[in-house]
Subunit: 333 residues, 2 copies
Amino acid sequence: MGRVWESEGVTAPAARLDPHAGPPVCVLGLGLIGGSLLRALHDAGRQCYGYNRSTQTVEAATASGHRASTDLIATLRQAAADDALLVLATPMTTIDDLLPVIAEQAGTCLLTDVVSVKRPVAESVTRLARGQRYVGGHPMAGTSRSGWAATDPTLFRDAMWMVSTEDHTDPDDWLVVASLARTVGSLVVPAAPDAHDRAVAAISHLPHLTAAATAAVGAGESDLALRLAAGSFRDGTRVAGTAPALQRAMLEANGIALLNVLSEAINRLTAVRDELRDRGSVEVLVDDGHRARLAYEAIAGADPVAISGVTVGDPGWAEELRRQAHRARVWFG
Amino acid sequence: MGRVWESEGVTAPAARLDPHAGPPVCVLGLGLIGGSLLRALHDAGRQCYGYNRSTQTVEAATASGHRASTDLIATLRQAAADDALLVLATPMTTIDDLLPVIAEQAGTCLLTDVVSVKRPVAESVTRLARGQRYVGGHPMAGTSRSGWAATDPTLFRDAMWMVSTEDHTDPDDWLVVASLARTVGSLVVPAAPDAHDRAVAAISHLPHLTAAATAAVGAGESDLALRLAAGSFRDGTRVAGTAPALQRAMLEANGIALLNVLSEAINRLTAVRDELRDRGSVEVLVDDGHRARLAYEAIAGADPVAISGVTVGDPGWAEELRRQAHRARVWFG
């Protein structure tokens, strides 16, 4: 199957290497993530267009020189005619309504998504768009702002972009989605959906709840408290400023994994409360937290090391990609 | 008593208005806060010098053109001869050892401090340096780095600097300390020590524990989790990177107030866990956290409004300053 992606040590079809040579991309939903993606693809010279249900957003996108429409059916028919890559970039709560329409109008297109959970989306696709080719994705990028006005074509540069990598994943489809992430400057992290969902519960969804609790306690103390608030409060509560509907859609879709890490956080805080009350000490949690933060900084600050010696499509390729991606400081591409 | 500080709407002695005319400042401890203060005072043209027990720090400060010494006794004798303002800028854990030496060598000097709790320091001063004139302070500025290498003369610019304002506070001493904060570009927030300690437990000390718990849970999940970690984890766990000894000294000194807000945070997280488990919803906490964050942003983003119509030293001045400072968007000076 000899796919060659030599510059990265991973072999892939030569055709996939050129971002201009990939299929057209149809982005469904032009909020912060979808809108930024459309702009980034446009800047990279990739053929792309988008759909959004809001006239205001479509007008803003069009005024900025993009192809965008409020007509879902017409957009999907165009995508089917182009054999475009469909990118589902709407909130989790809207996906079950969109999937049957996608299956009906553009059932032959390859589908990916940018939703922050992967198992529930995969299950919805199986249930509501059976037969659709699908490889999930999740760019680890965002801000607490939302909507077209917040879009930024550089949002994905150097970000980690998780691409679902299962034993049954079609290698050609996988490469098209990985190539999309590379086109906009992201690093591809191959992972299984379940492992991804547990991971983001810990490092993305739990921080929303601890930020919300910290913010609520601070605001409940006194106006003096908010007036004295400085860096630790500002940074520690930033994500609590994200639109509540978006936070709920994201967190509630990952309920089981989130329950596990939330219980662990409560246990740790309860333990430090007891330690502080009984012995006047916060040593254990402060030491553990410091070690954890240093471990994160070491990984975040290290130069990415490419996965090597894997030919996408060869027997066991998905397992081998996941295995190598699990080692610290190793990314795909 | 006609003190005039007209530009700010608060009356104060004209002599206090000129930062170059204030007393010399002797900074004890040249870490992040003390070292930055020495540099900021130096840049403002104020006569200043410092003490640090580490030869390395003193050599670094001296090499940067500052007067600094490892000889505590000689430094304090100089301060006594100069009638300098003493600024205690060492960790809370060292204060009980330093105070008797300060009282013996420089018992006539006015003393302030930059420690993040105010009631315990005031109690130590009463116990170990009885008779020393003392007005506590707390600049709300910092980073997760520490030591001379991390110092920054602009650290205090536009920061809130709490100055202890009690009914028995000497108005002349209070003005000297408030003027120090103004000299380095901070806004003065008058507050009672107990109210301050409760406030910082909520907006500074609690965030250290929620950051530590979030970091520890994230690092415990998998290497994949830390690799996928993006903005919400990076910002939400930043303060967990502060040196553990500094965090412990700060948090453990404010144990009672911290226990209260920590219990409240645990209660809120337990409530959202139950809500998520029983009804699949995180609505209450996410909404409360969002409202709280917006309230913080409104206060942080508003232009400061000066306290008005108060003559420092007139009957009831301290109470009136505290009362006005408690209203949102009102600062002193």
